[in-house]
Amino acid sequence: MKKYDTPLIDELEKGPWPSFVTEMKKAAKNNEMANDAVGHLEKCYRTKVGYWKHGGIVGVLGYGGGVIGRYSELGDEFPGVAHFHTVRLNQPSGFFYTSAALKEICDIWDKYGSGLTNVHGSTGDLVLLGTKTDALETIFAEYSSRGWDLGSSGSALRTPSCCVGPGRCEWTNYDTLDLNYALTQEFQDEIHRPMFSYKFKIKMSGCACDCVASIARADMSIIGTWKGHIEVNQDEVKNYAKNGMDINAEIVNMCPTQCISYDGKDLKINNAECSRCMHCISKMTKALKATGERGATICIGSKAPIVVGSLLSWVIVPFIKVEPPYTELKDLIRKIWEWWDDNAKPRERIGEVIEMKGMRSFLEGIGQAPIPQQIKEPRKDPFMFYTEEDMAAFKAKEAEEKKTGKYKF
């Protein structure tokens, strides 16, 4: 095996933080592909440009995603990375593993790939970095026969992902692990066979802490919330105070709706005014607990800057029950896709399409009424559409008012 001189990236083996260069060299010890990846990266560091070409058309028969073609411009100089494709494995909910399962994944990868991975990729898949085209069908047979399916890529439903939820968190408002599994199974076709205009991501967080960043990284964000009150354990409140918490400064004054009061003894919450931001609960987890009806808020539209600027997801359904078999949620997702499919041009994310076509078209398309919880503030400009139906309804309301002698605004 060729030994590359790598003075630049060797610098990145120094220092306390774990080194990705060390990882690449570990894999390179007995793997030609990983070894060439090391030499290839050193060259990037020397010239300050990358050499990977645009993704090519590779995949497994029948699927339209899960494998991302990657070729180097420098295939002659570094033959081990001439083909260096990515295989995405669909991760289990919550990224839980047993050592036996992961070792099996490693064994197969060592046999057919570079031995390099990302655990995990940005979307959530277990990413296997670097293999050749002729190994793809074999890799798929090896993994799928052992219960591991490919994740997604391209214009498809991307591999759904969720927070740790009921597995290890007291704050979750629904079973994120189970919903994630259920939706992934329900939409296998949409995951593996790209039928959309562009990518569509679903992420599930159990509360407003949003540990999977669903509000920023998912076309559809399913964020847990509740409708009941926050139960206060006053003894634990006293313990927090005793242990040095300045409850007025850290909790009361930081409450965004100013709905908490504390008289030095008891903590009181005006639950009707609480917006359920999770600050007080997360800081006083032993003392405060959400109770009552649980479910989720559905937000739509977030994405990174390409093409016309970043978006954060916004509310479309303020509260939905999230209980197996999740029929209402699945129906909603299908309706959203149908509207998107009817209205999107190629490479348009749903958030951008809603911006183009307007929330009215979208909400009518999915059968949701307009409500103030969807917005930060109403429109500031006077340019708006009035349909014939709108005008008829306004007139009918006024006629009704004339009859009753009572205004209804």
Binding site: L61, G65, G69, G154
Partner: protein
């Protein structure tokens, strides 16, 4: 309509677009179902069968996915031709 006949129509539809327009799966479903007055699901089923045996394939380029007629190289790699 016979499955084989429908699949030939789908293939012809893709062939006509080759080099001109990248077809999304939806473009084929709408195009062929309108042309033949069929249900989209029926076209979808036929299309999926064609993809499963390598008569058509999912492709990817310019950031988006499409459906295309496979190259000889692809068919050779999948063991479809020698």
């Amino acid at each position: 309509m016979e499955m084989a006949e429908l699949q030939d129509k789908i293939f012809a539809f893709c062939e006509a677009a080759k080099g001109k327009k990248k077809l999304k799966e939806k473009d084929i479903l709408i195009g062929v179902s309108t042309e033949l007055s069929l249900e989209k699901d029926e076209v979808k089923k036929a299309l999926r069968e064609m993809i499963n045996v390598g008569r058509l394939m999912y492709s990817y380029g310019g950031g988006a996915s499409s459906v295309e007629i496979p190259s000889e190289e692809y068919l050779r790699e999948k063991g479809m031709i020698k």
